[in-house]
């Protein structure tokens, strides 16, 4: 149990460190970093490299945005198996629907309720 959390912590932390190195060493904007992570997740997942990491580290691999890419890729692959080309088209979003819907709805609600503030 504790071991699980240590592995999650270590792997999740290391994935973030990769992002930090990208930010500090290149002048990539945050939007680009996020895009790179999601796309990298899709690529790694397609190559069959990400699933073992998820099995090993659980949330340590699924919570970073590479995990979001993994969900998209696995959805598309599953869709392709079941429904062919059509499945490959909608499978990705289908699998990631919960996260994206939540982000849109909670995001919209928060943006409507609150206002942006200047931070001292």
């Amino acid at each position: 149990m504790l071991m699980d959390y240590l592995i999650t912590f270590g792997v999740g932390g290391l994935i973030c460190v990769v992002g930090q190195i990208l930010i500090d060493k290149t002048s990539m904007t945050p939007a680009r970093i996020l895009v790179v992570f999601v796309t990298a997740g899709v690529v790694l997942s397609t190559l069959g490299l990400y699933e073992p990491l998820v099995e090993f580290a659980g949330a340590g691999a699924t919570i970073p945005l590479t995990g979001f890419g993994h969900t998209l890729a696995q959805g598309a692959i599953e869709g392709a198996r079941e429904h062919g080309l059509l499945g490959a088209l909608f499978g990705g979003l289908n699998a990631a629907a919960a996260g994206i819907s939540a982000a849109v709805i909670f995001g919209y609600l928060n943006a409507v309720i609150f206002s942006a503030r200047t931070k001292p």
């Binding site: 930010i23 002048s27 904007t29 945050p30 942006a116 503030r117 200047t118 931070k119 001292p120």
Partner: protein, 337 residues
């Protein structure tokens, strides 16, 4: 006729009859905070948007400057103003209420120098009686236009600068005696040495500052020793360092006379990294700190060379490099009374 292409000696000196600086709370906490004529409690000023708040700041600065000059709006021939926002909305929208013939200008952070320069040339040339020069910037309006949203959780690189929330205004007139006066102006060229990182504004603007200063000293015959202060607008620590190096290659030393408003306005203020930037930076420091000191006879002559980075979010996305500009004016103390 003038033999030089950049530097002009005014036919008759133009006096700075009144000036004012309005600054936000963070600027008020900085080392120059006590100099500003007005420091606001928050940066919203009870307005519905930050853009409206910036307009109010510019309006306050204009009102204070006109009051100090004892000149009414109806007497002013030109209002020369600009700011950082797209379509210079702060200046345009503020001008709705001033009822002064208006010329909108854009020189990014060099705007204060640009308005002073043009205002002086106009009045000195015999056109108009008074000219009003004004500019402003606001952290929260500039940031979302040029960089990231306020609530976005990101780190700013250590060479980035913090947009100053402030406005400055000055009233120029040809009839004066003891007030500070503009005697020379130097019109800068757009210089671009290929810097593309929009976070490193100091590096983008330093070559323009170096070019204008070198041109000024070559064409005018002045030497750095002739000035108590040589003021740059918002080069920050990185840009100031680069300026020193660039000038050194041409054996020009500014030494202790060099004063960068961006470095000084936030000296010791946490989280501002390389210093302040924005039109309001040089405008508030000149109008709030230097001109009153000159009026008190603590400074005899200064060179005010404000720089601007002429980028837009579109050109940044298109991976264009950042052109810089630097305009300079010479300000001398008036006759002893």
């Amino acid at each position: 006729m003038q033999k030089t292409r950049h530097v002009y000696e005014l036919l008759r000196p133009v006096y700075i009859l009144g000036e004012a600086a309005v600054a936000g709370p963070k600027e008020g906490e900085g080392p120059l905070g006590s100099c500003f004529q007005m420091v606001t409690v928050d940066d919203m000023l009870q307005q519905k948007s930050y853009e409206k708040a910036e307009c109010i700041m510019m309006e306050r600065a204009i009102d204070l400057a006109l009051a100090e000059a004892v000149v009414s709006n109806e007497e002013v021939s030109f209002m020369l103003a600009g700011d950082l926002l797209n379509q210079i909305i702060t200046a345009n929208f503020t001008a709705r209420f001033t009822k002064i013939p208006f010329l909108g200008l854009y020189g990014a952070c060099s705007t204060m120098a640009e308005t002073l320069l043009l205002g002086s040339l106009l009045l000195s040339g015999g056109y108009g009686r008074y000219a009003l020069c004004a500019t402003s910037s606001h952290f929260s309006t500039a940031e979302r236009q040029y960089r990231q949203p306020l609530e976005m959780g990101i780190q700013r690189p250590p060479f980035s600068q913090w947009t100053v929330t402030a406005a400055g205004a000055a009233v120029l007139g040809v009839q004066g005696t003891h007030q500070p006066r503009v005697t020379h102006v130097c019109v800068g060229e757009v210089i671009d040495l290929g810097i593309t990182d929009p976070n490193n504004m100091g590096a983008a603007m330093a070559p323009a500052a170096a070019h204008t200063l070198l041109t000024f000293f070559t064409e005018s015959g002045f030497r750095p020793e002739d000035f108590d202060y040589i003021i740059t607008g918002d080069l920050g620590t990185v840009g100031s360092d680069l300026l020193r190096q660039l000038l050194q290659e041409h054996s020009l030393e500014l030494g202790q006379r060099h004063f960068d408003c961006g470095v000084e306005i936030f000296r010791g203020v946490e989280g501002t990294h390389a210093g302040g930037s924005g039109c309001g930076c040089s405008a508030s420091v000149l109008n709030g700190y230097f001109l009153p000191r000159m009026a008190r006879r603590e400074i005899h002559r200064l060179l005010f060379a404000a720089t601007g980075a002429l980028l837009s979010p579109t050109t940044t996305l298109q991976k264009e490099s950042i052109p810089g500009i630097c305009q300079a004016v010479v300000i001398e103390e008036g006759a002893a009374c």
